[in-house]
């Protein structure tokens, strides 16, 4: 390292070239600090709702109270940091509006996350809600997109009973519900396959005008799903940014008085996101300047 530095030109150009050769682990440390500091100081920025978050909010808001809504927890703890905030907000929004909610999961661990949401959101902020009447937990069903396809013809064949083992014929919320077309809105909180794309391909396409469809997605998956908006998806929440915007819309209209932390997770996580993005942009600029400095120095040396 010392030998290499001795060969570099003195002054600012040498410094810039040296910065381009920095050990990448210092960058990891800088990213850690950039994320930890705003978290510990609870740095937050105001959010301006984007078009897609507003469209998702409007879709849920536009159906009359008492409508049946199906929320699919198509993710697991690996992506919960990104998707749990929007799932919480969607659940709170539907419950506040007075919709009757059915929860299901195409991912095995999605069921546990839906259970947590029932405990932490539904029963915490809406203790008056009654299981079987206002909400029902259908649980996980194996079969990936096959489950969606089956539900377009018969929900009872996919889910003979809810997660607690009660036959769906005895659940008041599902009285008269034969297919997913009997729901007024379906929301898929999706981390991959099966998820939002499969709901569009096998659910929405089979019954194009039967229900409204909205999705919350991870950042990685979003570019794959963007072509479906707005024709096949009425609303879309993209990653933590979409969650933060939507959270703001929901909590402004339906505020909660106690332990509101679970409905502010998206906005809380946007603080570190902002600082980390600034750092990354700075590093990209610095890397390019360093490359140009090294190129100019080599050219001059020749």
């Amino acid at each position: 390292m010392k030998q290499r530095n001795e060969q570099l030109p003195p002054g600012i150009r040498g410094f810039l070239i040296r910065m381009g050769q920095i050990d990448r682990r210092w960058i990891y440390l800088a990213v850690a600090v950039a994320i930890a500091a705003p978290m510990l100081t609870r740095l937050r920025f105001p959010e301006v709702p984007g078009r897609m978050a507003q469209a998702t909010f409007n879709a849920i808001e536009s159906i009359p109270p008492g409508s049946r809504v199906l929320i699919a927890y198509d993710f697991d703890p690996a992506s919960a940091a990104e998707l749990e905030p929007m799932a919480n907000a969607v659940l709170h929004h539907c419950a506040s509006k007075g919709h009757r909610i059915a929860l299901m999961a195409l991912w095995p661990l999605g069921k546990q996350l839906a259970d947590d949401a029932i405990r932490d959101i539904l029963l915490e902020y809406h203790p008056e809600k009654v299981e079987g009447v206002d909400y029902v937990q259908l649980g996980f069903k194996t079969g990936n997109e096959g489950v969606i396809k089956l539900m377009t013809t018969s929900i009872a064949e996919a889910y003979a009973a809810d997660a607690s083992g009660k036959p769906i014929t005895q659940i008041p919320l599902l009285e008269g519900v034969r297919t997913i077309g009997d729901f007024q809105l379906i929301a898929s909180i999706s981390a991959g396959t099966p998820g939002a794309q499969q709901w569009v391909q096998y659910g929405d396409s089979a019954m194009p005008d039967a229900f409204k469809f909205v999705a919350g997605t991870t950042g990685v998956q979003s570019s794959q799903l963007l072509p479906y908006y707005p024709k096949q998806m009425e609303g879309m929440l993209i990653a933590i940014k979409g969650a933060a915007e939507y959270e703001m819309l929901v909590t402004e209209k339906y505020p909660v008085t106690r332990s509101a932390d679970r409905l502010a997770l998206g906005r809380e996580r946007m603080g570190p996101q902002f600082v980390a993005h600034l750092l990354l942009i700075g590093l990209i600029v610095l890397g390019n300047i360093s490359m140009l400095a090294a190129r100019g120095w080599k050219g001059a040396a020749r």
Partner: protein, 417 residues
């Protein structure tokens, strides 16, 4: 080459040492400062313990003289009671000890069956748990003092005293306790997280151990999921429902068409066994047939879905008006809606993007002249798309890191306010 190696061998250890020292100092100072800032134990966990009690009860048969029967939910059915129904054993079910149907006589306890008692543990947020514990202690202290009878009639005193006793019973039955078991779980999760992070410094045995645990646990987990969510309910339960009910799923509902279910379940059983034939020393070709069924089924299913959702609907979505108005309908435009510059630009960009990218992927003509320039524009569109996708990926990955830090800072170190 050899000079580079010499530099690496002489420079890398020093750089590593500095990094490890920086990390240790950063971590130690962080934890120390954090604990000064927000005192409290590490990996604090609480649970609410609710004691559940169930007794076995049976439905008391309703008098048959009136020709009606009463079910367990209390509703009456007018179905005539046959001799077979009269002779059938009464329906039994597990109910809570204070179930009102036991008091009303609709149900009666089955003698000789012990009461089942167990504790249900539900995780409680530490901050909320501390508040609730303080509130419960305060309530218990207040409620433990008897009501002062001064100025009260006997009836008023008795009503208030009964209410106090009931409230005290509720307070005493609510148990929010520290959970060492969950605390150990948090410690293990924190150490495993740090083990994965340690790879950022360099590959090391700690990381290897954690990586192996992750792979092993994931493999075992998926095997169990497949067994319990596919093999048991979709195969075994249809082939041998009584055996499955007796050994694995006591709540398995009886099938309406057991014979049909049995015959249909033989097909996946045969295909599954044929697939496993691949492991046999001879006749590996047999495994090709079930594979053909799987591939054929999925291809058929996906083809129709993709043609509709990803082809026809996408073409329709691309056909946008090049001049947009604030109201998307033609009537709105005719009625004098405002010109939408953003919508118009988005429409034009969409059409240009689709055409130029399609031209880039059109390889039957050499990319020269007009075709070459159009394809070049298509490349720019592709690059912008990849850049946006990368940006989304970065955002997603940072959020995952924030999620882990959130766990370390709040659940493990207890630094949340």
């Amino acid at each position: 080459m050899s000079a580079d190696r010499a530099q690496q061998s002489s420079g890398a250890p020093k750089s590593d040492t500095r990094l490890w020292i920086a990390l240790l100092i950063f971590g130690a100072v962080g934890i120390f400062a954090g604990k000064l800032w927000r005192p409290g134990p590490l990996a604090e966990a609480y649970v609410e313990v609710v004691t559940e009690t169930r007794v076995l009860a049976e439905v008391v048969p309703a008098p048959t003289s009136q020709g009606t029967s009463t079910n367990a939910q209390g509703s009456e059915s007018l179905a005539p009671t046959s001799l077979e129904q009269e002779n059938a054993p009464p329906t039994r079910l597990w109910v809570e000890l204070d179930d009102p149907r036991l008091k009303s006589g609709e149900l009666r306890r089955v003698e000789g069956v012990a009461t089942e008692v167990w504790d249900e543990r539900a995780k409680v947020d530490p901050k909320k748990a501390r508040e609730q514990i303080a509130a419960l202690e305060s309530d218990a202290e207040k409620l433990s003092a008897p009501i002062d009878p001064t100025g009260l009639t006997r009836e008023e005193f008795e009503v208030r005293e009964a209410a106090r006793m009931n409230a005290l019973k509720v307070v005493e039955s609510t148990r929010i306790v520290a959970s060492p078991r969950d605390s150990i779980g948090i410690w293990i999760a924190a150490l495993l997280t740090l083990g994965i992070f340690s790879f950022l410094v360099r590959d090391n045995p700690f990381y290897k151990v954690v990586e192996s645990i992750l792979i092993g646990v994931s493999a075992a987990y998926w095997m169990l999921v497949a067994f319990w969510s596919t093999l048991v309910p979709d195969l075994f339960a249809k082939l041998a429902p009584d055996l499955v009910r007796a050994t694995m799923l006591p709540g398995l509902a009886p099938s309406e068409h057991p014979g049909k279910d049995f015959l249909l379940a033989l097909i996946p059983l045969a295909l599954g066994m044929m697939l496993l034939w691949r492991l046999a020393p001879r006749g590996a070709w047999i495994a090709v047939w079930p594979l053909a069924v799987v591939i054929g089924t999925f291809a058929g299913m996906r083809l129709t879905a993709s043609i509709e959702a990803d082809f026809m609907a996408q073409i329709a979505a691309t056909m946008k008006p090049l001049v947009a108005y604030t109201s998307s309908s033609a009537e709105g435009a005719a009625a004098g809606s405002a010109f939408d510059l953003g919508g118009t630009l988005a429409g034009i960009l969409g059409v240009v993007g689709v055409i130029t990218v399609l031209v880039y992927f059109f390889f039957s003509l050499e990319h020269k002249g007009v075709v070459g320039k159009t394809a070049r524009v298509g490349v720019w569109f592709l690059m912008i798309t990849f850049g946006a996708a990368f940006g989304f990926t970065v955002m997603g990955r940072i959020t995952l890191l924030v999620g882990r830090f959130d766990f370390l800072f709040n659940d493990w170190l207890g630094l949340s306010p």
